[in-house]
Symmetry: C2
Subunit: 742 residues, 2 copies
Amino acid sequence: MKRLALISSLNLLWIPLMAQTGQLTGFKAQHQTAQYALEKEFDAGLSKEHIGELIKELSSAPHHLGSPRGKVVAGLILNQFKSYGWDAKIETYYVLFPTPKTRSLNLLSPVTYTAVLEEQQIAADPATSQKGQLPPYNAWGADGNVTAGLIFVNYGLPEDYEKLERLGIDVKGKIVIAKYGHSWRGVKPKIAYEHGAIGCLIYSDPKDDGFVKGDTYPAGAFKPEYAVQRGSVMDMVIYPGDPLTPGAGATKGAKRLTKEEAQTILKIPVQPISYHDAQPLLAALKGPVAPAEWSGGLPVTYHVGDGAATVRLNLAFNWDIVPAYNVIARMKGSKYPNEWILRGNHHDAWVNGAADPISGLAALLEEAKSIGLLAKKGIRPQRTLVYAAWDGEEPSLLGSTEWAEDHAAELNQKAVAYINSDGNGRGFLEAGGSHALENMISEVAHAVNDPQANVSIFDRKIAAEAVAATSAKAKQTAMGKKVLDISALGTGSDYSAFLQHLGIPSLNLGFGGEDEGGEYHTNFDSYDNYIKFKDPGFNYGLALSQTAGRAVLRLANADVLPFNFENLQAKIAKYLTEVTDLDTQLRANAKANNQLLNAGLYKLAADPQENLKEPKPKTELPVIDYAGLKTASDTLKSSAAKLNQAIVAGLENIRQPEKLNVLLYQAEKQLLSTAGLPKRPWYKHTIYAPGFYTGYGVKTLPGIREGLEQYQAEEVKQQLVVLTESILNLSAELNKAAALVK
Amino acid sequence: MKRLALISSLNLLWIPLMAQTGQLTGFKAQHQTAQYALEKEFDAGLSKEHIGELIKELSSAPHHLGSPRGKVVAGLILNQFKSYGWDAKIETYYVLFPTPKTRSLNLLSPVTYTAVLEEQQIAADPATSQKGQLPPYNAWGADGNVTAGLIFVNYGLPEDYEKLERLGIDVKGKIVIAKYGHSWRGVKPKIAYEHGAIGCLIYSDPKDDGFVKGDTYPAGAFKPEYAVQRGSVMDMVIYPGDPLTPGAGATKGAKRLTKEEAQTILKIPVQPISYHDAQPLLAALKGPVAPAEWSGGLPVTYHVGDGAATVRLNLAFNWDIVPAYNVIARMKGSKYPNEWILRGNHHDAWVNGAADPISGLAALLEEAKSIGLLAKKGIRPQRTLVYAAWDGEEPSLLGSTEWAEDHAAELNQKAVAYINSDGNGRGFLEAGGSHALENMISEVAHAVNDPQANVSIFDRKIAAEAVAATSAKAKQTAMGKKVLDISALGTGSDYSAFLQHLGIPSLNLGFGGEDEGGEYHTNFDSYDNYIKFKDPGFNYGLALSQTAGRAVLRLANADVLPFNFENLQAKIAKYLTEVTDLDTQLRANAKANNQLLNAGLYKLAADPQENLKEPKPKTELPVIDYAGLKTASDTLKSSAAKLNQAIVAGLENIRQPEKLNVLLYQAEKQLLSTAGLPKRPWYKHTIYAPGFYTGYGVKTLPGIREGLEQYQAEEVKQQLVVLTESILNLSAELNKAAALVK
């Protein structure tokens, strides 16, 4: 906040200003002043110019997992931490990582076309023509040389295949072409395979990510015609990390599955292509005109295909075991050395990765620098800080997952929270994670100044929400907010092992919304692009350091850890309403659908010239009783409220703060299911999971929600028991904590 | 209905079949059998092959208003009517009609381009290269030679200009380019002019009407790159018809305004162009990237423009007075010769007009043929039938409006109802008009067989509604319908003078929804196109004859005219709920908008790099009291119900049927406002009007709804008085009618 600068000279204003700069929950009154002073000092140690220098250096060359430059980058980061006074080392894991050996794609009929499969070198941006780039590919698709008819499947979502079925189009034995977007890329080939496809192409349509969105690079930020989004297609909703060592660290001597045994490696070849390469393929398709909402921005009529247009896709990979270099830096806590505040951001990139991941990593390093300066002045954190720069995030969270699995026992004891970032840009705070930390991060957001507006990042975020709200009521609700609504986390960055496997309260932080562009996982995610389109002046790099750094330092120094389970319960209650609404809606929709079917109305309404098939009858779900879950949620509400009241009342005089804090930071583990989620035991969190068919996209109360979506009533009932029990366990744990305070 | 064929052989099934084939409201029991028999006979006289022959002949050459072929077509129609045994004549009016003299459009900077402004001759369709075509133009734009910077205004709607204002773009002194669609074309240049633009281009974007929708002609039905939609841009929401003779027939000696006095001729030049011509213009624009939802299907980044791209538009017209040949055919009623059932469809086309208007006209002629055959057998209608083929509809309802104005006094006495059509195609019944006729046309729809499905057109329409409904509840509501929800009418075809100026109960009928294409007002609205894409086999031509013919014959022969004012009142009550909801919503939105403004949130939320301006403060409306209107609506409900009950109870023994029927068919006139609507006294109907800023699109309860939309509280209050009075007058009239029955 601008006004913070006034504090020292205007002590009279201290109390009202504190209210404006946010509360400091969990700090005794006499410690608040010190914490505010520390944070001011922390801010003073941050330099946006230095953040810029770090971004420039660390993104100066391609540095993917296993590359020579990747190793150099890890070393540079190690040296930075050391130079800041941290106890840093590299922890290496040995992970499977496929890189391309053969890549070719040909249209064979009705006309021939050979796909370029290379990005363009852009004269205005020398980074685009550097040596050492991985060419466009999707990691974890299968080796294969397949020739088949081509079918356009829109975004390749389950509902797209329902439409195809109604159109009478079967992808069995075919190669599909799907647009990037609306689901994580990895679920597109997975769903294609489940429907019998033998190959999968994924392209960025200019309507979603190209000239339709805005001017293309280098004139604008959007994707030019030859650019391709690389990326992992591992089936990471089963488990992320090294496919050969699920649940265990991929140490040198670890027991490994064979590649064939690994569940998360796909069974069909997958290749990402540019819209330049997609256009002749799409233009060659005949068969039904694609449904209106499937059309993209290319100047062709989008058809679904009838199998007559044939393509050959030939892919082979080097399936090497490569070292993943995690850089781990520690600063030992002065008071509670066995309580760890974890903070991480990956360092590997698909190419140069100025935005993804270096912009987030540079902010993290800058926090470490400033915290190091504080330490040199004798102001050490009370809890131990563990700062991590992960390797191998891009091929599906390899570095962080292996490290978390390897250190699971210690983390279970010591990890208070994990705070993640993964790139950064201009705009608004985007925060997601454990809702027990919602209040804490909101307080932080009240205390950080927005670089472009003379208000806090909290106020600017609320302004954006109020303006974006589509009803007068929603606008007023947004305006009245005192606490941010942070999102729930699916997957897609390094928090997954911490949050969803180990139950460590986690946050994912970053700024964005005014940094839109098409550079993601391309050769123009470069420094030149970054300073022009993502965060000119590195102002939001600084804001990220201030935000994540404050979160770390408040968690490190709080007398009572600032978890607020009332926020968590409120979200659980909201999700419960969502799933019961979903239950009602699925039931009503199934009934209506079946009535229409029985009355023959789908046939009557269909254009006989289009030969549209009737939808299938829908399962009418048996009655499912949510009363027990509702009661558990209410019980949790009461426990959480009592605990908060007890802490507020007793804060100045806690009898066993250490015991209380351990209870608080381990409470979220009560929400883990021992057996894990159906079909994917690695994911144990009963509240948050990546969607089985959405990938990155979160499914809250996943056992129940996905059971309903898939009409698996027995699974829903069984998961209701698990969830109810875990919520009651959490409630009991909070009661224990409350008892400690009294 | 297929089952109708069984009736003669299975008399035992007569009664249940009647229920299935629809009721015959207004017919005494002993007359129903005769009417069913008559309708069966009427059906037998219809021939889809003959409909096809008529379409082929009448669309064989360009035949716009004032063209040599137009006169020939009128003569051919006259001869058809005469050959069917009707008393037919041509009634000629003398109307202003601009045709192009000079048309040129040039991009002058940053690069030069000369627009083609001509449609392509398509080898597969010889009609596209015939002589006598009017080139692409918009009638009623001004003469002018203007040079100015070009601005892209999306669809040119009022809200588009609000967005432009927020983007800091002023169209004053500029030429605008707008996409066809989302409003009637004529309101685009009108709104542009109100904002200070000096010229207007309108083009069909391929996303709305071109290759994005489907394959282009002749491979598919959609608009190829050089095709252009012609059309009127007269300000017909003020008044339609001849601009020089508002409110009076344009007879040879009529008193005429000067062209300069005519309110409905636009003040700026307007030219429609193809997407081939639009692309270089759009590609030349710089300035802000257009809002995402403005983007079309051309392979360019859509920018709004900054005025640097300059175009010259040079247009001049021949402002000639030309004859409009209305063909009017009568068949005198056997019992009530002074009660007229009117039926019309225009005959003029922009080019060949196989679909628009000839497909509708051919169905009308086929009805006349079959009714003529019945008459020859001695089965004459009890009321007089007036069948009309209007000229000059395309340049804004010239023929029908001048005829209606000229014959207003007689029509006020004699016109029972007007049934319009305007082209036809494959698909579902689309019916709109006076809701007092909703029940009648629903009964007709129950009695007509769908050519593609073995059910009535009613059942198929309901099936489509149920399938299209987006919620389970809406699906079930649709499935339960016994009466169609017919739409309210704005303008855009020949019913306007009858319905909205004279208060004659009107219907507009046609089939469509499976005949999508881009031929509208182009050179490929041809017979070849029609038989391939619009209604192969002319099955729906036959269905239109059966539907409109039944409506005519039931109105002609009913003992008590089948008006049902309960349907009308239900719709008035619905519209009343809509406007009070609108009132609530505008009030809440204004309040929320102003709160956000006062709190500075728009500024905070905006991207400072985009320089987005704050929206303007919104007027907070004073309290408006709708209670009187609500009471009037309830009063009408009660009167309408009593009248229906009285008619049902007394049908077999009506004392003064003629007096009752006059009251019934003149009742809708009570809904006319003597003063007409604000700013446009020609439009007198208080329930239905074209939108002042939507054109064709209807505004129901227009005085109130548009007053609210424009934040004119005093106008709303004044119009509330007018509307309330008119509804109470209608109620009183229905009471009179009910009293006659008892």
